[in-house]
Amino acid sequence: MILKPPDRFVRLLRHAVRNDPAGPSILGDLHEDFVVLAGQRGAAAAGRWYRREVVLLVIGRAFHSTLATFSRRGTMVTLLSPRGFRQDLRSSFRTMRRAPGLYLLLALVIGLGVGATTAVYSVVRPLLLAPLPVEDPAALVWIQNTGQGASLSSITSRSSNLRDFRALATSFEGITGYMAFSDQSTNTLMVGGEPEQTFGFGVAADFLVVLGVEPLLGRSFTAEEGEWGGPRAILLTNGFWRRRFAGDAGIIGSTVQLDGQAHEVIGVLPATFDFASIFTPGKRVDFLTTFPVSDETDRWGNTMFFIGRLRPDVTASVAEQELQRVIGSLKEQQPERWGLGARVTPLQTHIAAPLRPALRLLMAASAAVMLIVCFNVANILLARSPGRSREVAVRKALGATRGRIIRQLLVESLIFAAAGGLVGIAIALPVTRFLAGATGMAIPLLDRITIDGPALAFALAAGIIAGLLAGTMPALQVAEGRESDTLRAASRGATGHRAGRRIRELLVVAELAVACVLLIAGGLLFRSFEAVLGVDLGFEPAGTVAWQLQPSRRFQSFDEMTTYYRMVTDRVEALPGIQSAGLIDGSPMGRNRSWGLRVVGANVDPEKPWTGLFPHMISPGYLETMGIPIVAGRDITARDTDDTPHVVLINETGAREVFAGEEPVGRQILTGGGDEPWEIVGVVGDIRHLGPETEPGVQVYFPMAQMWDFSSLDLVLRSRLPAAQVAAAVSATLAELDPAMPTRDYWTLESRLDRTVSARRFTLQVLGGFGFAALVLAALGIYGVLSQSVAERAREIGIRMSLGETASSVRRSVVGRTLLLAGAGIGIGVLIAQAGSRLVASMLFGVRAADPVTLGSMALILIAVAALSGFVPALRASRTDALTVLRAE
């Protein structure tokens, strides 16, 4: 068998050494080693070796030949020597003063690119690059349950899992956790006699110890405080401590009333550790309390997320394998145990995971903008090179070396690149400040977005690299010019430079292609965003206002509670401007949990005995307030009480999926943990409870008078008046009913909806900005190239016109050229966009990557912009006065 090295790489190598007299022997040398290696380690290994060797050789040769270009006649030495540097600076500034507008434009163009990339860098860094603000964050892992579905209950774990993982797994230095549902109810903090609605999170007692966070003041929780019925303690977050207690250190050791119970304030968290921004982005966390890992809390089912600290040399996947073994043996010992499962991911990966596709897309987009910037700057510089060549030729004739000339041109690039860097920082500063201050955005670690040392360094480096990249080719081209030719051509009024024009047209096509890719990505995201906003939520968010009610009193019976809440809704409904009011345990896009359901009398699938459902506990009037239609049967009424038969409503998806076409009304189901059946009395319309992008799933509505499984209730009301106007009256009424209940904080469902689409809107806005910048830059590029070429061809055009060509035909030829360039750019852009559609695929909603509407409209926009930018030069060309031009000859 004759072994031959990979053909394509042989050709690549042959091409690379084609000008080298020793080239053929190099091919032979590699071939020889290839044959030997193939004999020793097989053809495949030898092929791999050959490919690598060729690539290394080719790259090395390219690098050294570039270096050699620079070092010809001591160029490199001159480039790096400090001698004459001041003079270069001075003469650069002199050149720039002669054309201040042009250099300002260059700085602005670079600044645009730097601003875009720096803003993205500052967003990406805390999420993907910078370590989390805890001790040795790389060793921290996120442990969640393995259930299916979108609800929190399927990915959280029972506290007994934490207890057993701690005892049995050896991969961890420590495992801790927090109560995932803590943000679904508020806590009333009494300070100085006034109730305040606050947001706390329950954590395992060793939470801060495992994370390696030292309190700023005071101490962490003790083991006793972490026990069921142990001493009650709270740790304040830094922000809350400053806002509510004015940063008073004397607060440590004092007692506050939280939900009617005395708690000792044991410490204050450091400002660097913002619990909310890491674990519950977009939400507010005022304090931490302990969540006991005990039999009592275990009965509540899946409630906790775990965080583990790995021992040195243990990886997340090894830890996961160990937990699987632990789970296996636990299941063997306790076959009836449910809710066991563990998936382990590095904590930082977990936090960034929801945003990773968006961040990747933004990084790619900012790189694309930077690419256009480089093309544009190179283009502008190339446009000037004929003029510069004359100046350079004169300097050469006066004795300047090639090295000195290249250096001076590069110094010039450096100056406007650095200026561009500054402009970029000026652009990035307000953008990042806006982002960091944006509350209500569900984006983790937003508070850590700043323009700091690394970001500044990044901005300057980006600007300078762009300037050098864009400046090198024109500098080499200018310096290459042969003095005698250039001077002669200059005296004649050069008309040539055809090669230069070709390069610049190619650059414009490249710019248009990249701009086209950005526009398509932006267009697809825009269409997705529209689709998300256009989703029928199943309820009417406009005109609703909601409060979370935390009555200070405890109820002894269902009756007492329903009577109290009926009074609340009656009083509120009686206020002017209120159309209707209702109560629910958790309004849409807020609370989220799941229960199991089984139909009485139906065959039970042994594989899947329970169907998952979202439970809702509502008052009569809630469905009407939300605008949720009754499709069949009846609504819940005030006559459904604890003493009457237990009834529920099911949504359309439930009716369809659980009853498969049979009539659900009148059937009975088991759910909610009890043995008593619930009769379905009505079918209601589907609502998207978790947000527009999540399917409704099975939902069941219980009368709150019959199902008391909630820690708080949301009051939702519908009004034609503006929310702020309604709020004052409702707050006053509520405060009258219960002076110890916090009543000031309210929200609208529209604002909740807004938050669920915040990440999408954010990506869209940034990408839209990039697309716009790309469009402006591309337009600038077209305009520049065509005006230059019209100016260069003035003589030719003049002659053509004097021979009878009409103005309109001249215009047509210039605009035709523009459209040709635009067409080429768009064609390439569309191809690239389709090839790269993987980057946006996961972010599309209701639209395909090859969406003809998006592709068509973006192409139209680009063609329109191109035609506009080409029109001015075309007009100028058609006004060429043949006599003037020829007389100037």
Partner: protein, 111 residues
């Protein structure tokens, strides 16, 4: 001799390797010798560049020798030899090295 022909360490080693192989020197064999006996990794690119540089300085010369063997895929072989100037440069480097090593036996210890 002028500054232009002062040898770098790697250049010196390459020249010596060519001399060791008498009339049989070519790139692959030089590389093998250096990797095996000078205990250094030699990248192909660096070796070719050094050979070209030595040739440009007039310290080595070479000839393209046709080869029909399947081992080389029919590609020719570059035979190298050291010129008189090359030998002079090696001698000079050796003398400098020996001058500086002279009297350091106690410090450096036995080989």
């Amino acid at each position: 001799m002028g500054d232009g022909n002062r040898l770098g360490e790697f250049e010196m080693l390459v020249l010596l390797a060519i001399l060791r192989q008498k009339d049989e020197a070519y790139a692959n064999r030089i590389r093998e010798d250096l990797e095996a006996n000078a205990e250094r990794t030699v990248t192909r690119g660096a070796l070719y560049r050094t050979l070209d540089r030595l040739a440009a300085k007039g310290l080595v010369e070479w000839d393209m020798e046709p080869s029909e063997t399947p081992e080389r895929g029919g590609h020719p072989m570059r035979r190298l030899w050291v010129t008189e100037e090359g030998l002079e440069a090696v001698r000079h480097s050796r003398d400098v090295l020996l001058t500086f090593l002279d009297g350091l036996g106690r410090v450096l210890g036995p080989r």
